[in-house]
Symmetry: C2
Subunit: 272 residues, 2 copies
């Protein structure tokens, strides 16, 4: 893959890259289309990265759907699918890790220790292998996007990190590979994440500026759904990801909620 990429770049071809863990859906395809529009060559990686899963998380049962994934890549004109083995991404004596501090202290970084170290490390590897001109990341994983932007900037990785809007089902549920874990009842219950974020936007629009009040209102809405268990409901500065007391400047309302056994995340950005 790296040889191919270096050859393409030497031929002055631009490369658009969409790193994924497979189990592709229309959200991933929206990233691929953005990549297709702006680059000569589109590369998608499919790699379920073991180092970003903690003990007790869903690494083993994470959906692997390679044939469907390849069809979905083909449908939007992807040129290359890179699907490495774990053993070729991680040597037996692998010992190098990329850490992004501070940005990873809050939100998912707090509830998934080591997760972002795994993400930063594998994305650093993938960017070095694929040598993209532009790499595309969805805004649903807002903290991940910020971590990767920071890493690319700090390490002078010569790729543009391009954020892509959250892609939602018609009823508002943010697309996620993990949505397929949901039972029909849980699928309905999961709408409360988006409803909480809509409530947040509405209340901010009407003038509410107190973060604690807004968090409380979102939480009250979510706990009404018995199948849910809140991991966090936070309002953070859009750049530093630190909790804010008041809504001012660009802030993100971000939440992680278990619906049944499935942990889902969603977020929305407001600027006031």
């Amino acid at each position: 893959m790296q040889k191919t990429s270096l050859k393409l770049r030497a031929e002055k071809k631009s490369i658009g890259f969409v790193p994924t863990m497979g189990a592709l859906h229309a959200g991933h395809q929206s990233l691929m289309k953005k990549a297709r529009d702006a680059n000569d060559v589109v590369v998608v990686s499919i790699f379920v990265n073991p180092t970003q899963f903690g003990p007790g998380e869903d690494f083993e049962k994470y959906p692997r759907t390679l044939n469907e994934d390849l069809a979905k890549c083909g449908a939007v004109g992807v040129d290359i699918v890179f699907n490495p083995e774990a053993g070729s991404m991680y040597a037996p004596d692998q010992s190098t890790f990329v850490e992004v501090l501070k940005l990873t202290d809050n939100l998912c970084g707090m509830s998934r220790p080591g997760h972002f170290r795994g993400v930063a490390t594998v994305v650093c590897k993938l960017l070095n292998i694929v040598q993209p001109t532009r790499a595309y990341f969805g805004l649903k994983d807002y903290q991940q996007l910020q971590v990767i932007k920071r890493m690319a900037r700090d390490l002078f990785i010569p790729a543009d990190i391009v954020p892509v809007e959250i892609f939602r089902e018609p009823d508002g549920l943010a697309m996620s590979s993990r949505n397929r874990y949901l039972s029909p009842e849980e699928r309905t219950d999961a709408l409360v994440l988006k409803e909480a974020l809509d409530l947040f936007r509405e209340r901010v629009k009407k003038g509410e500026r107190n973060a604690i009040t807004l968090i409380k209102e979102m939480m009250e809405l979510i706990v009404e759904v018995p199948s849910t268990e809140i991991d966090y409901v936070s309002i953070v500065d859009a750049n530093t990801l630190e909790d804010v007391a008041m809504i001012e400047g660009r802030v993100v309302a971000a939440l992680a909620v278990k619906v049944g056994n499935t942990r889902l995340i969603d977020n929305t950005i407001v600027g006031v």
Copy 2:
């Protein structure tokens, strides 16, 4: 620098890179000559990297000799000297670090906590900026070389890491920017580092295989010189850098000794 490098690589020019902290000497120049022989373009960086110095170490007083350095680069045909400001290498909110575990537990990693994190991070940045085909590192900093080789391999950095033999003064002292800290008496005393390594080689040649015995003999030689203070005298596996009990396979005798206030390192590799 990165723009220049990407342009050169797109023109299919090979880049040989020698990262330095300045205070250049003939040892650095031997690396530059190797780079000159094998590449179209030779880049030398001069950057005294703050993050690899611990509290109480010699960051402030580390010799800065830019004019002499430029002359030395010119004398061996260096094309580009990259001399960034600390502020352009580290953003005020820099938060990304590259860590190489295990390899950094022993030797200088033990006596200089955080040192190799600083080294790995800055070398990762520099390799991304300079985009070399080949990067040259001296074997005097044996552990540093191993850490960088491991990092480049693990992160798939597309540069060959080329080791270069230790360059010594005629009397055997390994060249180091820190040698200029030595008083004339200390300069003589410092020869004991090389003498200890010579003793080690001689004793191994004659059949001694017990690492503890060899370490003891080296230490006894060094402590005879009153101005010295031993940081470590170790015999380690050349690949894993773990202490060995017996001399077998490729091993490195490595030592760090303060002579007066100046901490010096040296090493030698044997294969049996």
